[in-house]
Amino acid sequence: MMRFVSARYSGVAIALHWLTVALVFVNLTLGLSMVPLPLSPQKLQWYMWHKWLGITVFIVICLRIVWRANRRPPPHASMPDWQRRAADCSHVLMYVLLTLIPISGWLYSSSTGVQVVYLGLFPLPDLVSKDRTLASVLKWTHYGLNSALFALVLVHVIAALKHHFIDRDGTLARMLPAAWTRSHS
C-alpha cells in the first residue's frame, strides 16, 4: 500500500540509472577479481575488458549528466530537510565519482605505458607519460575513489530500501520501471 506516489523519473533516466548499476556491478567484480590473478593472457584480456567497460560507464555518466541538466528530477517525497539535502549531496557525489573513476583508470593505464584503445577501435590520448611513481599514486587513487563509491552506493541502497519498506513514501518507485511498479502495487 502506497501512501504517497510522487512523479516518476523519465524513462530515459530510469534506463540509464539501471544501466549504470549493471555496468558498475560487473566492472567492480571484474576489477576486484582480475588484480590478484597471476600474469597470463587471460589477465591481460580481463584488464582490457575492464578498461572498455569503464569507458562505457564514463559515456553513460556523461549522457546522464546532460539529461539531468535538461530535465528536473521529480520532487522528493515529504521527508525532513536534512534527508533531502543528504540525498541531493550524495547524488552529486556519485556523479562526480562515476566521472572521476574512469578518468583515474584511464590515466593509470597511460602511466604504466599502456594506451587505452576503446573497443580496440578508438585510441584515447595518453595525457600522462609512463612513470612508475605516478602509476602507483594513480592506482591507489583509482582504488580509493572506488571504495568511496562503494560506501556511497551502500548508503544509497539502504536509504532507498528504508524509504520503500519503512516510510513507504514511493521514493524507490520513482526509479523503478513502470511495468515493475504496476505489477507490485
Binding site: L39, P41, L44, G113, V114, V117, G120, K130
Partner: protein, 192 residues
C-alpha cells in the same frame, strides 16, 4: 691539513686509475650511454606496448672512411628490462620469456657494414638471444646532434618466436604479436 692533501691526491690517483682502467681498447669509441637507448615496441591485444633496457654495454668503432675496420658489439642485460609494471618485468625474466637465469645477456656482433648513401648505412651481424643465434640486418641513419655528437638510429623487426621468446601460454600471437620492433639509438662523441 697534510692528511687531507694526501687524501685528495690519493682520490685523484684513484680516479685517474679508474678512468684508465675503464677506457676501451683497440680504438673503440666511447658510447654516450645516457644519450643512447635500446627500446622496443610490440602489440599486446592490439595496443602498442613499449619497453627498453636499462643496462647494456656497447663497443663501437665507426669509421665511415673505413667500414671494413668498423665494428659494433653490444651486450644487453636482459634482466634490466623496463616494462609496464614490476609484475610484467618479473614475468618476462621468467622461463617462458627471456629466462634470464639461464640466458642473462643478449649479444650482437657486427660482421659487415655497408654504406647506402645519404648518411644511411646497413649493419649486418649476428644476434645471440636465449641460446639462439641468428643473422640480422639493421639499417641505420647517421645524424649529428646540437653538440656535434654522432647519432646512429635504426630499427629492425625481431620475430620473438624465432628465439623462443614467449612460449607456452604466451605463444598465441593474438595476445602478443610475433613482430617486435627493436629500436637502437647509439650516440658517439664527435669523430676525433
Amino acid at each position: 691539513m697534510k692528511l687531507s692533501l694526501a687524501l685528495r691526491s690519493l682520490t685523484a690517483w684513484f680516479l685517474i686509475a679508474t678512468v684508465a682502467f675503464a677506457a676501451p681498447v683497440a680504438g673503440a669509441q666511447n658510447v654516450l650511454v645516457d644519450k643512447s637507448e635500446i627500446s622496443f615496441v610490440a602489440k599486446q591485444l592490439g595496443v602498442n606496448v613499449e619497453g627498453r633496457f636499462r643496462k647494456w654495454k656497447a663497443n663501437v668503432v665507426f669509421l665511415p672512411a673505413d667500414l671494413a675496420k668498423s665494428k659494433a658489439e653490444l651486450d644487453i642485460d636482459l634482466a634490466s628490462i623496463d616494462l609496464a609494471s614490476e609484475d610484467s618485468e618479473r614475468e618476462i625474466r621468467g622461463g617462458l620469456w627471456f629466462d634470464t637465469a639461464k640466458f642473462p645477456v643478449a649479444h650482437f656482433s657486427s660482421t659487415a657494414m655497408k654504406e647506402l648513401g645519404g648518411d644511411r648505412y646497413e649493419i649486418a651481424g649476428a644476434l645471440a638471444l636465449k641460446g639462439v643465434k641468428r643473422d640480422i640486418v639493421v639499417p641505420i641513419v647517421l645524424k649529428k646532434d646540437a653538440a656535434g655528437n654522432r647519432v646512429a638510429e635504426g630499427s629492425f623487426t625481431l620475430m620473438r618466436l624465432d628465439y623462443n621468446i614467449g612460449t607456452g601460454m604466451w605463444s598465441d600471437t593474438k595476445t602478443v604479436t610475433n613482430d617486435v620492433i627493436v629500436r637502437v639509438r647509439i650516440v658517439l662523441p664527435p669523430a676525433a
